[in-house]
């Protein structure tokens, strides 16, 4: 068969017919919730100590944790957002996947094992190891909460737009109701299951997501005789634009947009290794060697998945068509579900939609437990009660924080409903790369690094990233801004990374060389020896 023939018989996907599958979608999703709830209940039996609640008793193997990391990382933004971006903008969507994947090398080479060896539950454990506890913990907890908040908003906003497509609920009230249901489910998972329950939800979701994407990829490739070139040709023809195969369609328009792309690229590659919910996952394994194995597993799974999205994105462009995708409810984010419907009818659509829901649920649960741990462990236990709180009280505080964060996420999700998902995630990456990464790298590798350097770098990175976002076209002054009709956007780029990340590195250095106080060299020696050898690292909990 030749490609020309195939591309002319693209049958239109009847978007209206999707509503008929609502019941099936809900049924498959309900099944997922039921199965995971049972697992969460079983997992919660052993939740006794803080190490159980925050770090799943450090009992997961590297491969289990690696799969859970993939489940945590492959959010709705990756699956729906990147597939949609490739379907509409072609090659420029693919650039996202590359940044998201290469970033894992920073985590593998510079962060994962050293962090596992020196910390206990949170990122702040590592940063405050040899610096003064109070100021560093407060700063690290604040930046953790900020990053989690941006990331949560993105996921909840994604839930809203996904629902409009999959369940045929298009009115604002109905979508708000579903966001409340998603939020309430997530609170239950985290409250009952703690880190162990959350991890199992992520493992199941990662397997379903990767398997679903693999089936669809094989299906699309089979249609084109396993010839990538034919698929690309057909996509270019369906789009009526050969440039979908070339870079620049989305970001190549002006000099500003090119610079914006550089800024995004920087934020993506440096953000991953500083995402608090990814860092926290390294504490769920018994040793640094297992932490390394986790990263290796997740690199393979995530890389494989992004290769699938390349095929799925161009497949959606060729088989569904960019115009149908753009006009469907849910817009760009609907490319993957529509492709599933085209290939396998209502059953595959139901499966893929349930997986997409599960994705949002699992990621939101991971973020919530991270934010709660950071508040309870860093702010409550170490700052407010100055280390005197016992573990039971700390876990109690963490559980209450889960409820508060869950409610905030529901409200934020209702408010952010309709915002671009991949884009909000990119902002979370920029904030993480600016506020956290410089301090993580300095404190692991720079002997002279001081408290003042850490505090300057974290607050400087956090404040500059958030201020630049506030005064960027994201918030005002453009057609797609959050606040319509106002214009206070004096910063031209939508992603702050290119300014805020170098600034945070500079502030960390400046704060250190100008600091009159010196840190304890014995603590530095202890941290360095422990980080490389694993002496005295937190062990797995025996049950």
């Amino acid at each position: 068969m030749n490609t020309n023939h195939i591309s002319t018989v693209v049958p239109a996907v009847n978007v209206a017919a999707l509503k008929d599958t609502t019941l099936l979608n809900m049924g498959i999703f309900a099944l997922f919730v039921a199965v995971t709830m049972v697992i969460v209940f079983r997992a919660s039996r052993n939740n006794k100590t803080a190490a159980d609640y925050y770090a799943a008793g450090r009992s997961f193997t590297g491969s289990q944790n690696g799969t859970a990391i993939a489940g945590d990382y492959l959010s709705a933004a990756s699956f729906l957002g990147i597939t949609g971006a490739i379907a509409i903008n072609g090659y420029d969507g693919f650039l996202y996947s590359i940044g998201f994947l290469v970033a894992w090398l920073v985590a593998l080479l510079l962060v994962a094992e050293l962090l596992r060896n020196t910390g206990k539950f949170t990122m702040a454990d590592v940063l405050s190891f040899r610096l003064r506890q109070r100021p560093v913990r407060i700063a690290a907890a604040l930046s953790t909460l900020a990053v989690c908040f941006f990331y949560l908003l993105a996921q909840m906003a994604g839930a809203g737009s996904l629902i409009s497509l999959l369940l045929g609920i298009s009115d604002w009230g109905g979508q708000a109701l579903v966001i409340i249901v998603v939020g309430a489910l997530m609170i239950m998972y985290v409250l009952i299951g703690g880190m162990k329950g959350t991890t199992w939800v992520q493992i199941i979701k990662a397997i379903l997501l990767i398997a679903g994407a693999a089936v669809m990829t094989a299906w699309v490739l089979a249609i084109y005789g396993f010839n990538l070139s034919n698929l690309l040709g057909s996509a270019a023809e369906a789009a009526n634009n050969p440039n979908v195969l070339n870079p620049g369609l989305q970001y190549g328009k002006t000099e500003t947009s090119k610079l914006d792309f550089m800024s995004l690229g920087l934020a993506l590659v440096l953000g991953t290794a500083a995402l608090p919910h990814v860092l926290m996952r390294f504490y769920t394994v018994p040793t640094a060697k297992e932490a390394r194995k986790s990263v290796v597993w997740s690199i393979w799974l995530i890389g494989l998945f992004y290769l699938f999205t390349l095929v799925l994105g161009y497949g959606a462009a060729a088989l569904v068509g960019a115009d149908t995708i753009k006009s469907a409810p849910g817009g760009v984010n609907s490319a993957a579900p529509l492709l599933a419907f085209h290939l396998g009818g209502p059953l595959l659509l139901g499966f893929i939609s349930a997986v997409a829901f599960a994705t949002i649920l699992a990621v939101v649960a991971g973020l919530t437990i991270t934010a709660a741990a950071s508040f309870a462990h860093d702010i409550y236990a170490n700052v407010i009660s100055k280390g005197k709180a016992d573990a039971t009280t700390e876990v109690k505080v963490a559980r209450r924080t889960v409820v508060v964060i869950g409610i905030l996420a529901i409200l934020g999700g209702i408010f952010a409903n309709g915002q671009n998902v991949a884009f909000l995630v990119a902002l979370a990456f920029a904030v993480a790369a600016s506020a956290n990464l410089p301090t993580i790298v300095y404190s692991l590798f720079w002997r002279k690094f001081t408290t003042q350097g850490a505090v300057w770098s974290m607050y400087g990175g956090l404040a500059s990233a958030i201020l630049l976002i506030t005064f960027s076209p994201v918030v005002s002054g453009a057609k797609t801004s959050m606040i319509q009709g106002a214009n206070f956007a004096f910063f031209p780029l939508s992603n702050p990374g290119i300014v805020s990340i170098p600034l945070a590195f500079l502030l960390g250095w400046l704060g250190t060389v100008l600091d009159k106080r010196r840190e304890d060299p014995a603590k530095q020696a202890e941290m360095e020896v422990r980080s490389l050898t694993g002496i005295g690292a937190e062990k797995a909990v025996d049950h």
Partner: protein, 126 residues
Amino acid sequence: MGNEAQPQDATASVDFQEVQQTERFTTLRKRHRSFVFPMAVAFLLWYFAYVLLADYAVGFMSIKVWGNINVGLILGLLQFVTTFGITAWYVSYSNRKLDPIAAEIRNEIEGHQFDKDGNVIRGAAK
């Protein structure tokens, strides 16, 4: 909860500054840094070279090499290949050059025996 306090107890008497000065530890640190630093610089340079090409050399990236497969796609897929390659290389390097020496130092200080995965072998302590 006993496990929470155990690490501090086990290492409270260790003079880490002394350990830091030992030849074995400086070798370990040197081996670790001489691998991860150049490798990090290399993959970051290669990634940014790719991003710059995609951003400012659209014509070059659009040259078709084979059918509809162009330079941009090949370089993009090569990013995947190098990421997988560096991962595999680092794992084999750590297994050969870093883990044995780290386990030796740890073993001496904590007085445990470790199996090849770095887990404490029960009953072998002190």
